[in-house]
């Protein structure tokens, strides 16, 4: 502590524990940590959290812990006295005291009011019914999440930024959502008519319905809300009504205290109110006739206010142009400055209907004064920078609508750190410039994105500039950019594979329709990308319960044979561990000859493939092979393929273990199993590795002391050697670890990811932790694997050859009486 702790410190009381107030305190602590004894009162029972991120919590993308800005430890660490759930109810300017609801009275030397804003409540009947809420704080989000779990239909009143984020979040949580909006187009304060209509079209495609030009007359219901009625007679049923038509400054306390209040609490350029000892920041205040609702100007206010609280007297607050971005997954909207041209101004507009993209620049003289972007918003920050700096763009004005890259003569260049000005803004939410990020990285020796985020606050709010922050970090350190983008399942949805898999389990979704409904799919049947993925995820999550949908499988898995380029099929029976016998060989020879298969080939997986079989002959071929004891080799599937082996110590002078028998046992345990992508194994009898274990999904290399287990190898497209998982002593352990690894991969990999990218993504240490270090978890994984196998080890060929499964699949329709052309 500094020596000032020996003196009696001045007291700063902060009314409001939200983003504006705490940001000011944070800035103040940076300037002069010992100056004040700080006391904070907050109406909500929580610590300070990121209110902008509430829509992400509602949409299920973040949880409450993720959005905490200042933990209780932070308050304690800085000796801040925090009263949560206890709003200030009176300020006595003359006595310099505040009194809270619970009766606490505290004196102050300086007072900071940061009471924020409150939702505008329209004068309509029925708003006091259960099932009606605003979208302002965590309590509202709780109400909405709870309603989504128990009810079906939601109406959101208000088609602005907040209303649409609420609607999307509720849709993501599985509700049927309708939005009522007073104006003809959505978000009319931030978007022009064209972009507003594109937005409505895209949201309609995502299953949200709209009542535009809709004035809500009343909310209906007796014990709970049942719907709404519009003035023009339209009605919509609802189990939840969210009112999000706007906010107004929370000024009641200041007004009662006698401070000058207009629309907001009136503040000067130094953020002081009509009483020189009282300051106000954030949405509650009014500066030069304007109130604010976005985060960037509030951060500016915090900085200026902290400067004055710390005794500075020079900084002044100036309102800046602001930019808006909508936080709805997969819908990119950006606007800044003026939305439309006035007198002596022009608009440049680019439409790309096919891509659903739109961009507009509003020009005055040689300067950009506004932009509206829809679809591709990557140039938003660049345009915003030109707007804020009033840059003369005369030279490039004919090309600039095409984006920054087009003005630099050619294709989009790789990120060039030096080309970006130090004062170019990177994070619009937190007002962080490139220069600040670079100097912080260098000064604090930061090496990870998370560190940069927490030190500079860049990308810490809405997160939309995270890619740029990563690029700046990488360029500053001189390394490659780490690619953070988590892939979505397909274009039918904004959900990631992980989100879908988690929801299937947590929300007990057991059919594809249930998943598509609950997760807000934009298509009824899905598409050729998501259907096989969902089919696999459900099959993996609910063994024995989910019925495999053959119509959601690629042709090879549906007909249990590989389609060849001429439309014929290949048939590959299983040869356990690469071994066969005279009876099997005779049967293969017989069917190949009988059904005119032109080729038999030894495959890379140590077995024989019969090529050129006609689809309608498949059941008969399988029946004859089945009589000789041959079963499907699943050579066509995202499934266990083969277990390649060498001859081992039975025959080989170097062999240390019986690799062939172990390979057969592994294959007997795992055959029939469906996996995110194909799964290949091998067992080599010695480190010479003749079975190529080191490029398999799971490879075993026998050594004198036991068995080395290797995982995540791949001999295809991108060659990758295995990582060593561990060494085990017995064959029984090999089987146990193999089952556990396969199940971990089944449960966690994205559909169509081989083990190689999966292992690279999670890291071998993670897999060791789950399988080697955690015996209980390993055994649980093994148990789940073996349980699933009890449903999967039916030979699909036998079912189709002799039990009539999918008979329609293999028969052509009978020819009609009249010959068709």
């Amino acid at each position: 502590m500094s020596s000032s702790s020996h003196f009696v410190r001045e007291r700063l009381v902060v009314v409001g524990n939200g983003m504006a107030g705490m940001r000011t305190v944070d800035e103040l602590l940076k300037l002069d940590p010992a100056r004040y004894d700080i006391v904070v009162f907050g109406a909500e029972p929580h610590v300070n959290y990121d209110r902008i991120a509430l829509s992400s919590v509602l949409a299920g993308e973040k949880n409450v812990d993720d959005i905490v800005i200042n933990s209780r430890e932070w308050y304690a660490e800085h000796n801040i006295t925090l009263h949560t759930g206890d709003p200030v109810v009176a300020i006595d300017l003359a006595a310099h005291t505040v009194t809270s609801k619970s009766g606490v009275t505290v004196g102050y030397n300086r007072l900071l009011i940061a009471t924020g804003s409150k939702p505008i409540v329209p004068p309509i009947p029925g708003l006091n019914l259960p099932g009606v809420c605003a979208f302002r704080d965590l309590k509202d989000v709780d109400t909405m999440i709870d309603a989504a779990a128990h009810y079906r239909r939601a109406v959101v009143i208000g088609g602005g930024l907040l209303g649409l984020e609420a609607a999307w979040g509720l849709k993501r949580r599985g509700m049927e959502v309708a939005v009522v909006h007073l104006m003809p187009t959505l978000m009319e304060r931030q978007l022009d008519e064209s972009a507003g209509k594109l937005l409505q079209r895209d949201l309609t495609e995502r299953g949200i319905s709209f009542f535009t030009n809709g004035q809500t007359e009343m909310v209906t219901g007796t014990d709970r809300v049942t719907g709404i009625k519009l003035a023009d007679g339209r009605e919509a049923p609802a189990d939840l009504v969210v009112v999000a038509i706007g906010i107004r400054p929370e000024t009641e306390l200041a007004r009662k205290a006698g401070l000058e209040v207009n629309r907001g609490i009136v503040v000067g350029d130094d953020l002081s109110t009509s009483d020189p000892d009282v300051y106000a920041v954030g949405e509650c205040c009014e500066h030069r006739g304007a109130v604010v609702g976005l985060v960037a100007p509030i951060w500016d206010m915090a900085k200026v206010c902290a400067h004055h609280l710390a005794g500075g007297g020079t900084l002044i607050y100036q309102a800046q142009a602001t930019a808006t971005r909508l936080k709805i997954t997969g819908i990119d909207v950006y606007s800044a400055g003026q939305l439309a041209a006035g007198e002596d101004e022009d608009e440049i507009i680019l439409r790309d209907a096919r891509r659903g993209a739109y961009r507009k620049l509003v020009m005055r003289g040689g300067q950009v004064v506004g932009t509206v972007l829809y679809g591709n918003v990557t140039d938003g920050e660049w345009y915003f920078d030109l707007i804020r700096k009033k840059t003369d763009v005369g030279d490039i004005s004919d090309r600039m609508i095409l984006g920054k890259a087009a003005t630099q003569g050619g294709v989009a260049p790789a990120f060039d750190l030096n080309a970006m000005a130090d004062d170019a803004q990177v994070c619009g939410c937190n007002g962080v410039c490139k220069g600040t990020i670079v100097s912080t990285i260098n000064a604090k020796k930061l090496t990870t994105y998370d560190e940069v985020k927490s030190h500079t606050k860049a990308s810490a709010s809405c997160g939309s500039c995270s890619t740029l922050v990563r690029e700046i970090l990488a360029a500053t350190l001189g390394v490659e950019v780490a690619k953070p983008e988590i892939p979505k399942v397909c274009k039918c949805t904004g959900c990631t594979h992980e989100e879908v898999r988690a929801a299937i389990i947590e929300r007990k979704l057991k059919t594809q329709d249930a998943v598509r409904e609950a997760m807000g799919w934009m298509t009824k049947d899905g598409c050729a990308s998501c259907r096989p993925a969902l089919n696999y995820y459900l099959l993996c999550a609910w063994p024995g319960e989910y019925i495999d949908d053959s119509r959601s499988r690629f042709v090879n898995e549906r007909v249990h044979a590989n389609i060849q380029k001429d439309g014929t099929y290949s048939v590959l029976p299983r040869m356990w561990g690469g071994t066969t016998n005279a009876v099997e060989l005779a049967a293969i020879a017989t069917v190949a000859s009988k059904y005119g298969a032109p080729e038999i080939k030894v495959t890379g997986g140590q077995r024989l493939g019969i090529y050129g079989v006609k689809k309608q002959d498949l059941p008969a071929v399988w029946a004859e092979l089945g009589e000789a004891g041959l079963v499907s080799g699943h050579a066509y599937g995202k499934a266990l393929r083969t277990v390649k082996t060498c001859v081992g110590r039975e025959w080989c002078r170097f062999g240390t273990q019986d690799s062939t028998t172990l390979g057969k046992e592994l294959e007997k345990m795992t055959w029939g199993n469906w996996t995110p992508h194909k799964f290949k194994m091998a067992v080599s009898g010695c480190p010479r590795n003749c079975a190529e274990s080191s490029i398999k999904d799971l490879g075993v290399i026998c050594v004198d002391a036991g068995f080395e287990l290797m995982v995540g190898g791949n001999g295809g497209i991108e060659l990758r050697g295995t990582d060593k998982l561990c060494t085990v002593a017995t064959e029984e352990e090999v089987l146990e670890y193999a089952a556990a690894f396969m199940q971990l991969y089944r449960e966690e990999a994205r559909y169509l990811d081989r083990t190689a990218p999966y292992v690279e993504r999670v890291g071998i240490d993670y897999i060791r932790a789950k399988i080697v270090d955690d015996t209980e978890n390993r055994k649980a994984l093994q148990a789940r694997f073996l349980y699933a196998q009890t449903f999967l080890q039916d030979d699909p060929w036998a079912e189709r050859a002799t039990q009539g499964v999918d008979a329609h699949e293999f028969a052509k329709l009978a020819s009609p009486q009249e010959a068709l052309n």
């Binding site: 298509t523 009824k524 049947d525 050729a528 119509r551 439309g567 052509k812 329709l813």
Partner: protein
């Protein structure tokens, strides 16, 4: 110019085709694939993808579209056109469903 007339030929029952699947029928100008969508609408196209002649009947049906099993081209069943960015067209044939029976319009050269 040759004149053609349309003969409606009875093909099969609607229920002979599973929803979201297709079946094929031989024809002089090449196999015809008959698709049944989840909304029970029915479409008939030559069973070959404009790209590499893949059997469309083996593809995954979704909405009013089918994805070719060979290289994933998506064909719009209503128009026979490949969905952008791909470009190509598979001939469509007239088809109708009446009382649960599927009829195909057979072009017959007349006179």
């Amino acid at each position: 110019m040759s004149v053609t007339t349309l003969n409606w030929v009875q093909i099969c029952k609607l229920d002979d085709i599973l929803p979201l699947r297709a079946r094929v029928i031989p024809a002089a100008k090449g196999e015809i694939a008959i698709f049944r969508c989840s909304d029970d609408s029915v479409f008939a196209l030559r069973n070959r993808c404009p790209h590499k002649q893949g059997h469309l009947s083996e593809g995954i049906v979704h909405g009013h579209r089918v994805a070719c099993p060979l290289h994933g081209w998506v064909i719009d069943l209503e128009s026979g056109e490949a969905v952008a960015p791909d470009n190509g067209c598979t001939p469509r044939l007239p088809v109708k469903v009446e009382d649960g029976v599927i009829w195909l319009g057979n072009d017959v050269a007349a006179g």
